[in-house]
Structures are given as structure tokens and as C-alpha cells.
């Protein structure tokens, strides 16, 4: 029990630190968002009128006052769920922008991540179970080879072959032009069509880390004395592989998986940019390039909370899966 309380305390402390950093970092960056917005409105060459600038600042609700009072307002806003108005998508609020992008990323990347983990762990365990056999060579060498290919290259190759040459799938976007998001059969099947290529790209590269990690861990656990003793005890091979091999080898991967799920946002920038997918990753890229502080901050905050929550969950599950950790922490 103490173990879980401790983990929870640790979680809250890190969360506070992350929230504070998230407040400070964008303010330390050079550049003025109002200026950037004006530039966009008027074109780069036109001289900027200071009065206009002031008006835009008012409009955007740029925080005044010193850092401390800004920090205080910021904490208050977070607790009430107000992230302000987006600078670049004015007059939409940050919350609106994020909630329209979130489901796209969550479904595409969330599902592929889980599939990647499942596929990777299974393949890795299989390779370790059949160590030094042909199956092992194919899996290990194959994944090492695919792992050396750059993701964007693979993605572009997929687009070139299946979208442009064969024309089986659309070459980008989340849904066809003209339709708008709704829960109709037509729209869902359209969205699915659009998600196939990015999902395949993610599924090709996603499992590799899990395969190699799982195989190496399991080869090691199967070489331990307890696995040898299990063999001497006459346990069936499959049972040894599961209870004495995979069951122990999967532990470090559980943590890895939780972290991967948490940092989902950072990983989606590339895939969403390449496939022009309307998710959080593309939103983040646009927010950064437009100096859209409120949007950026909110996105960063979500990422951090995501990572921390995932870590917390990983610790908790780890506690259940590995009795050794519970004990070590309690002492």
C-alpha cells in the first residue's frame, strides 16, 4: 500500500514542477506573438502601427504584470480549464482547437501503439523461444533492417506506391474534402480509408523496439538458473517460456510502453505532417511556428500530464506484476 501512496506523491510533485516549467519556458523564448499575428495579417512589409499592436494585444488577452502575477493567473486558468484564445486560429479558443484534433491522434496513434506493443512483444518472445533458429534470425535480422530505414522515407514510399501509383488510398488528410466530421457511416469509412496509410507506416516501424527488447530480455531470463531448474523439473517447454521467460522478461517493457503511450503527442508530429493528418502533432507544429503561446502551452501541458500519468500507471502496474518492487520500495 505504502508503495502506491509513495508513487502517487511522487506523481503530484512532478506534475507541479512540470506545470511550472511549462509556464516559464515559452516566456523565455524570444519573439512577440502579437507582432507575429500582425505580420500575418498585413504581410511582412507593411510597417506596424503601435496602436494596432496594442489593440491586438488586448484582443488576444496577452498577460500583463510581472511574472509572479502571471504565474498566479496561469495556475488559476489551468485549474478552471481556461487556456485562452489561440493566437493563430483566432477567434477559436485553445480548448476548441485541441478537442477537435485530439480524437484523430488518439485513435490513429493510440491504436497503432497498442498494436505495435502487442505485435512486438509476441514476435520478440517467439524469437527468444526459438532462439538461434531460422524464425529467430528472420525476426531479429528483419527488424534490425527495417529499423535502419528512416520513418519519413517509408511513409513517402507508401504514399508513392499506394496513393499515387496504385491510387488505392488517399494521399493525405483525415477525411475527404467537402465532408465534415460526423458519426455517419459514410464519414467513418472515409476517415478509415484516410487512416490506413499512416497506420501502416506506424505499424511497420512501431514494433521494432519492442521486438528487440523483448527478445533480449527473454533470452536472458531463459538463461537464468530458475529457467534451467524449471527444465530440470520437467516442466513443459511452453510453460517454461511463458511463466519463467516471458512473464519476467516483459517487465521492463511495460514501463517502456506506458512512457511511449504518454509521449504519444511528440511522436505524432512527423507522421501527421507527412500525411497531412488533422491531429495534435500537426497542431503543435503550427503552434510552434506561429508563436501561438496559449496553444503551445496547453499542448505541452497535455503532453507532460500524459507522460506523468502514464508513468504513474506504469509504476502501479509494475507493482502488481513484480512483487520485488513493492518490497524494495517499502523497506
Amino acid at each position: 500500500m505504502l508503495y502506491f501512496v509513495r508513487r502517487a506523491g511522487f506523481f503530484l510533485a512532478t506534475l507541479w514542477a512540470a506545470v511550472t516549467l511549462n509556464f516559464l519556458i515559452p516566456r523565455l523564448q524570444p519573439g512577440d506573438p502579437a507582432q507575429a499575428m500582425l505580420n500575418r495579417l498585413q504581410g511582412e512589409t507593411t510597417a506596424v502601427n503601435p496602436a494596432q499592436l496594442e489593440a491586438i494585444r488586448k484582443l488576444l488577452g496577452t498577460p500583463d504584470g510581472n511574472l509572479l502575477s502571471q504565474y498566479w493567473d496561469y495556475l488559476g486558468a489551468i485549474c478552471t480549464g481556461h487556456f485562452g484564445v489561440s493566437y493563430s486560429y483566432f477567434p477559436y479558443t485553445v480548448t476548441a482547437m485541441i478537442s477537435s484534433a485530439l480524437p484523430w491522434t488518439l485513435i490513429l496513434v493510440g491504436v497503432t501503439q497498442m498494436l505495435s506493443f502487442a505485435i512486438g512483444t509476441l514476435l520478440g518472445a517467439w524469437a527468444a523461444y526459438r532462439r538461434n533458429s531460422r524464425v529467430d534470425s528472420v525476426i531479429t535480422l528483419g527488424s534490425t533492417f527495417v529499423g535502419t530505414l528512416p520513418f519519413f522515407w517509408l511513409a513517402l514510399l507508401l504514399i508513392f506506391v499506394f496513393a499515387i501509383t496504385l491510387n488505392w488510398f488517399p494521399d493525405g488528410g483525415g477525411y475527404g474534402g467537402g465532408s465534415s466530421p460526423s458519426w455517419t457511416w459514410l464519414f467513418v469509412s472515409d476517415a478509415f480509408q484516410h487512416s490506413v496509410l499512416p497506420a501502416v507506416a506506424l505499424l511497420i516501424t512501431g514494433p521494432i523496439g519492442w521486438i528487440i527488447g523483448m527478445r533480449n530480455n527473454m533470452v536472458q531470463t531463459l538463461g537464468e538458473d530458475y529457467a534451467r531448474l524449471a527444465r530440470a523439473k520437467g516442466l513443459p517447454r511452453r510453460r517454461i517460456a511463458l511463466t519463467y521467460g516471458a512473464r519476467i522478461a516483459i517487465l521492463p517493457n511495460v514501463t517502456g510502453f506506458a512512457i511511449a503511450l504518454g509521449s504519444l503527442l511528440g511522436g505524432t508530429v512527423l507522421v501527421e505532417t507527412i500525411f497531412n493528418y488533422p491531429g495534435l502533432g500537426r497542431l503543435l507544429l503550427e503552434a510552434v511556428s506561429n508563436k501561438d503561446y496559449p496553444l503551445m502551452q496547453a499542448l505541452f501541458l497535455f503532453t507532460t500530464i500524459g507522460v506523468l500519468t502514464a508513468n504513474f500507471l506504469a509504476d502501479v502496474t509494475y507493482g502488481f506484476l513484480d512483487p520485488r518492487v513493492r518490497r524494495a520500495e517499502a523497506v
Binding site: 530458475y226 531448474l229 523439473k233 516442466l235
Partner: protein, 616 residues
Amino acid sequence: MALLEVRDLSVTYSPRDSAAVRAVDRVSFEVHDGEFVGLLGESGCGKSTLGNAVLRLLDRPAAITGGTIRFDGQDVTTTPEDDLRSLRWVDLSTVFQSSMNSLNPVITVRRQFADTFEAHSDALGNDLDVDARATELLEMVSLDRSVLSRFPHELSGGMKQRVALALALALEPRFVLLDEPTTGLDVVVQRDILDRLRVLQARLGFAVLFISHDLGTVMELADRVMVMYAGEIVEDQPAAEMVTRHLHPYSAGLLGSYADPRDQVVEVEFIPGRPPDLSQPHAGCLFQPRCPVAVDACRTVHPELLPASLGQVRCLLVEQSGDARVVLEKAAELRRRDQVFAAGLSERADAEPVLVVDGVSKVYKTRRGLNTTLTQAVDDVSFALRPGQVTALVGQSGSGKTTIARILTGVERPTAGSVRFKDEPVDHLGRGALRKYRRHVQLVFQDPFSALNPTRTVAYALSRPLRNHLGLTGAEARARAAELLETVGLSPADQYLDKLPHQLSGGQRQRVVIARALAPEPEVVVADEPISMLDVSIRAEIIALLDQLVRDRGIAMLYITHDLLSARLLADEVMVLNQGVMVERGPTLDVIAEAKDPYTRKLLAAIPRPGARDIA
């Protein structure tokens, strides 16, 4: 018909990137129903490989390359794994060496019993009450049934090994292979487990092949002892015979490394040199390069294992002469010249103490939630170390020995009391002063395998303290490193300077560790069980080295150990620590001969005296 019958068994390791090594070479032996057979040998002699081969547990790159293994008349040398399963554990079980690691860490003890029963449900039937049977088995090894619901990491090393023993007996096997079952456990715990093993074996009547490097235990427990050297069995005799009338010079050397520490004069022998490289072919006797009585023929003729006395021996001299005893007595004479280390009654001159420990206590605080537990690790201990003298610190694991070593070297600070080096108090030194102080106080560690950085050469290991403490660099440091190697008997030094630790044997590594401790020219050396990880036949050699260094260089040494024989050989004074309190101290012979503390007495009882059973 013998229960286990091994004929001409060979095992070869064929790694991908180096030469094949024939770890077990045409070994033949038998174990009969209910017989207790010891297999004795030093590290790397192939005894564990032989054990694994018998259990058919060899993993690549090791494989059986010749010979047969018959169990109860059935040839199991090439039986496929699936068919072996019905034999495994039902007839043939095992206890491994590392009690730390032979239980699955993520399942409870109950599950480990249950899956054994499940795997053999065809032999046991499905209605077996797992809890009842497991409790019964645990009771045999004096464990409470509450152990069932615990995880392995919640048990002590001794408890884990007892669980492993109970598990091995779960299906009432006819044959149990014990591979160093008590190595790494505290002496007293070892004793307890071995005594229990003997009682159980007598009661249940299973046959045992007991693999160990610990001569005393093997001699005491076994009916028959086989001695293995460089992949071959060199002698096979009834245990009693082995003690009094062993024939092979190697057996003689092993037996000579033990003595009774209570004698007025204690002598131990060691066998110089190291075992041959088994990836190379050898024409003659494999022991010849280390053998004190070898003749010319030994170099060219490979001896066979032939009947001699009540058993068998593999030695040309025994083969040739009708009366082997004469040959071996001559050998004993020869050996005595330079391969014996003796501790007599000679007193070393008293000198002014260099390090004084006065009333030192250490209390550790452990916080568990809101509760704080205080552990008194060391309680009011005082002693002094004098130049040219060795003070032994003896005690059970957890008695505070290591804490004292840590206080001496400034790693820990005492809660009360003081430590003075010459006239300077050193118990509360700052960072810089501590660094200067450490030049004078050096450590020799227990495990020579982990005390050296595996990726750095010997020269580098030695140059670090030379640079840090004496400011020597480059050629100067290298020259000094070479000198140090010569001092510790690694000669010619050029051969060793550029070697990596894995290219050295255990004894050589420990010499490098000692050389490193000597590098900054310390006045005090703390040696923490420096020989406990080494093979028996070279222990005396390292003790002789330490003794000579202490005398020649006037070093004050604190020798931490639980081995009273080595304490007797090396130390002028012995202190016995029990739960942080010093319970006995005095000149070595007095303390050992008239031990009063129960722990000291247990330690004494634990020292193997191969000859003792005959006399008693």
C-alpha cells in the same frame, strides 16, 4: 546394476569465436542406489559441466560429444527433451549452486511447488493436495508453512536454499544432484543445511552426487569421493581411504591445504601453477606441470584411470611402482621445501600503534514510513593496528565487520567514539583531508572478479592510485606498476602489464588487487575476506604473500574473515565480533584454542579436518 552409469562421457564447448574446449574428457563412473558420492574439484575443472551433462541440461555451445549416460539401465544420452520429462524430477532432481537465483522471482513458493506437481500429474494423479504436500516437504527442512505464500526475495539465502532442497525432494526422486548447494551461505547456515541433508538422505534413501570444491564437506558427507582435474577424474576412493591413503599428488595437494588451527604449529600447502588450457592438446599427464613428483615419462604418457588401493587413480607413478606410498611420501618431502606456509609461535615485535580505534559505535537509522528503526551495527569497539602486525576480525555475516572496515577507511562516520591515525583524528575528515588520508589506508576486496574494471589493463588499474596519490604519470607510473607486480609475485611484470582482467586467473587477479592496494604505499591495509573466493589450492599462496608484505613493508593489516584457519595462519591477534559487540580478543592461538564464544566454536566446528573422522 548401478542407478547411474556414465561411460566415457565427453563434453565439448565449441563457441563460435574461439577454439573448442573439451571440458569433460572420457569420464566414467557409477552411482548406486542410496549411495552418497562426492565430486571434488576446483573452479574450471569441469565438475559442473559434468553435472549438467548428467541432467541433460547442457546449453549451446556445450554439447555431449561422446560416451553414454544410463539411468536405471535406460540410455538417456540422446533421449529427446519431451521423453525426458517423465524422468525429470520424478527420478532425477537437483539443487543448484546459486540459492539466490534458482527460484522464479515473480511467483510464490506455493506456485513453484504447484507447477512441479502439475507437470507430473500423470505420475501423481490430479487429486494431490498441493498445500498439504508442500507443507510436509517444508517441514522436512524446518520451514514454516507461511513460507508458501512468500516470494523468493522475501526469504533469506539459507531459507531459499532450504526451499530448493524441499523442492528437489518433492517427488521422492531416486537420485539428487547437488551442485555446490551451500556455496555463498554463511558458515553456520551451511552446516545446518548439510546436516539436514545427511539426515534426509539416510531417511529417504536417495542417491546423491554432491559436487563441491569444499574438500572438508565432501570428505565428511560422502561415502565415496571422486577428484576431478582438468576434465578428467584423477582419483576415486572411499572417503575414509581418501583421507588417509589418497594416491594422486593432486589429491595430496588439496588435502594439504587444510590443517587444524588449534595446533601449536600449523602448516598448509599449496599447489603452484594453474590448470592447463583445455583447448590445446596435451600429450602427457595433465597435472604434470604442477606436479612436484613428476618424472620424464609424465610429460609424454597420458596415464589411465586404473584400480589402485580400494578405488582407482590416474597416475603413472602409482601405476609403475607397486607401492605408491613410498612415492608419495617422497613427494611430501619435496613439496615441503617451498610450497608450504607455516604459522608457528614466533611473535612479531611490538611497535607503536599506527591506527587506534577507541570506543567506536555506529547506529544506522532506517525509516519505514513514519517509524524510524535504529540498528546498532557496531557497539563500543576499541582496538589498535600496529605496523608489521595482522589483526584478524572474525564474525558472522551481519556482525558489523564490514561497518568497521567502512569506518576505518572513512566511508562511514562513527556515531560515537574516535579513530586516530597516528596523532590525527580521522573520523570526521572533510573531503580533501579524507582524500589525503586514504592514501595511507587501502582496501583489498573479497571478489577479485568484480574489483577490477574488466575493460582496463592491469597497468591502467595500477596507474590510477599512482597518479591520484603519488602524482606519477606516464613511463614513471608504468615502471612503478611493473615493480609492484614483481612485489606481488607476478613476474616477469612485462607479461602482465597489458593484460585485461579476464586473461588472468583468480589468484593472479587477487595479486593485482593487492598490488593496487600497495601502490600508494599505505601504512594500513584492510583486507576484506581476500581469499574466500579463491580456489583452495592457491589460498595459502596468497596468505603467504600477504604475510610477507606485512613483514617486509611494516604494514598494519586488518584481516576480515570468517575462516579461522587463515586467521590462524596470518594474524597475530584475533578479535571476534558478534552483533556489533567484541566478544573475544587476544593472541590468535589463545583465542582459537580456547574459544568461548558460541559463534567462534561453531566456526571452529565448520573447518574441515579431513583426518579427524579417523581419529574420532
